[in-house]
């Protein structure tokens, strides 16, 4: 009970704190706007309404993913530089219960990204954003965000051990945008890419949101996959964190920035 309370309070605290970070807000609001603008021009001025609705959702998801890779790494780097990381690791609470709320809170900021992207597409380009299945959409957003946040948590384990891991974390930004079908159908990519995309939560999150918005198929399978992946990421993250933290303690590298 105390663990759950700590995680809930940690999540709320970090959500509020990171909501006031101009750099994070830039990522969640401006990134989707830039790519939504390009998508509009690239898809021939938006003659295909469905494609633009998909692009609006996709660019919102791009913002969520960018934030998770970039900001989760930056958040840990900042704590390390400020000398807080060691204190957090030494706290009586397990470190995974401290780190997971941070990464999930950061991903949750992505809700701004989705809203900004959809509003922008609606207001500037006049694309009607009618959601076919509001209930599924409302469920898909938090479940997708949770899955992406826990993927960030898994990556965060590496950030704790390796000082330059933030750069490697940023490396995942474009590839995931590409292979998870956020702006383009996965069918356009080489066939071997598709199984790789299944490993990443944004693929299923995007499918769920697109299906809920356009009514092309049932979004519930994709939502279930997001939930299942959340469990896998969470479990793997806890194991990796234990390994990397142990290694950082042995080498005395935790505080080195």
């Amino acid at each position: 009970m105390r663990l759950a309370r700590s995680m809930a309070v940690g999540w709320a605290l970090h959500f509020k704190q990171e909501s006031r970070n101009p750099f994070f807000l830039w990522i969640v609001i401006c990134t989707p706007l830039i790519y939504a603008t390009m998508a509009y021009f690239l898809f021939r001025g938006g003659t295909d309404g469905d494609k633009l609705v998909g692009a609006a959702v996709g660019t919102g998801m791009m913002g969520i993913w960018s934030l998770t890779t970039t900001a989760a790494a930056a958040a840990l780097q900042w704590r390390r530089r400020s000398g807080i990381l060691e204190l957090l690791v030494a706290a009586p609470l397990p470190f995974w219960a401290i780190l997971a709320p941070i990464t999930i809170a950061i991903s949750a900021l992505g809700i701004y990204s989705l809203l900004a992207s959809m509003l922008y597409t609606r207001l500037l380009y006049g694309v009607s954003l009618e959601i076919e299945d509001w209930l599924a959409f409302a469920v898909a957003v938090p479940v997708g965000i949770l899955a992406i946040g826990l993927l960030g948590f898994m990556l965060g384990a590496a950030f704790v051990r390796f000082r330059a891991a933030w750069a490697v974390g940023n490396l995942f930004e474009f590839p995931v945008w590409t292979i998870c079908g956020l702006l383009i159908p996965i069918a356009v990519l080489p066939a071997w890419v598709e199984p790789v995309a299944w490993v990443f939560a944004p693929t299923w999150g995007m499918n769920a949101l697109r299906d809920a918005a356009l009514g092309d198929g049932s979004p519930w399978d994709d939502i279930a996959m997001c939930a299942a992946l959340s469990v896998v990421y969470g479990g793997l993250g806890v194991i990796l964190l234990r390994v990397f933290l142990g290694s950082a303690r042995r080498r005395g590298t935790l505080a080195l920035s």
Binding site: W26, I34, R44, F174, L183
Partner: protein
Amino acid sequence: MTSLRIFAIGGLMSFRALFGFMSPWIYIPTLVVTPLFQILLFVFIGRSAGVESDTFYVVGNAIQYSSVPCLFAMTFTIAGERFNQTLGPVLVSPAGRLPLFLGRSLPVIVNGAFVGALSFTLGSLVLGVTVPASAVAPLALVIVLASASCTGLGLVLAGIGLRVREQAVMLNIVFGLLLIFTGANVPIEQLPEWMEAISRLLPFTHAIEAGREVVAGSGLGDVSGLLLRELAIGVVYAVLGYRFLRFMERQGRIHATLERA
């Protein structure tokens, strides 16, 4: 002679001091692999939308990505000095400001051109884009010019960096705008008129156009007009940037904000 030393040796020392943290673990993911993935993303978007060829996106994104080293490094030459608390000593020294600032920009241009050229090479290899041998030298010149021109814009941003706290935000906004406005991914003729007008005033627009023509087989003479315009834009930004840096330096002294922003 002193000015020449400040320009060459001072610039190089500053670059080495400020960017010593750029180990291969950081350099390769951010400046080698990421631009390749940016190219791939837009190539696949282009294929999906059926708009332009792979070559179009390889040239556009390779050149545009050199904005990352140019803008970020140029701005960081100021921010980094401040972070390391050496900005004050640098600015109270009697060193001429022109060799001081220009010397710091030279390694940035070289690095930017390297990143642009490497991105183009890797992108071409992965996607099977072929370039005639006669186009290699002209294309290299185009990339160097683009890098120099963007570093001029970087000088302006470095001046703003003397007062603005959130430089990373500012730089990312500029990077995003360059992605849209320079024709790296959307032909500028397809943009609304007001956007096209802005494009013509930005670094990269003419260089990207020249790069595409060179790869398509045009000679240097055919693109000389575009290159001259790119150069002129770079010079204008560099002059503006230098004047702006001096202005912001004075403002920083007046308001005692040099170390605070």
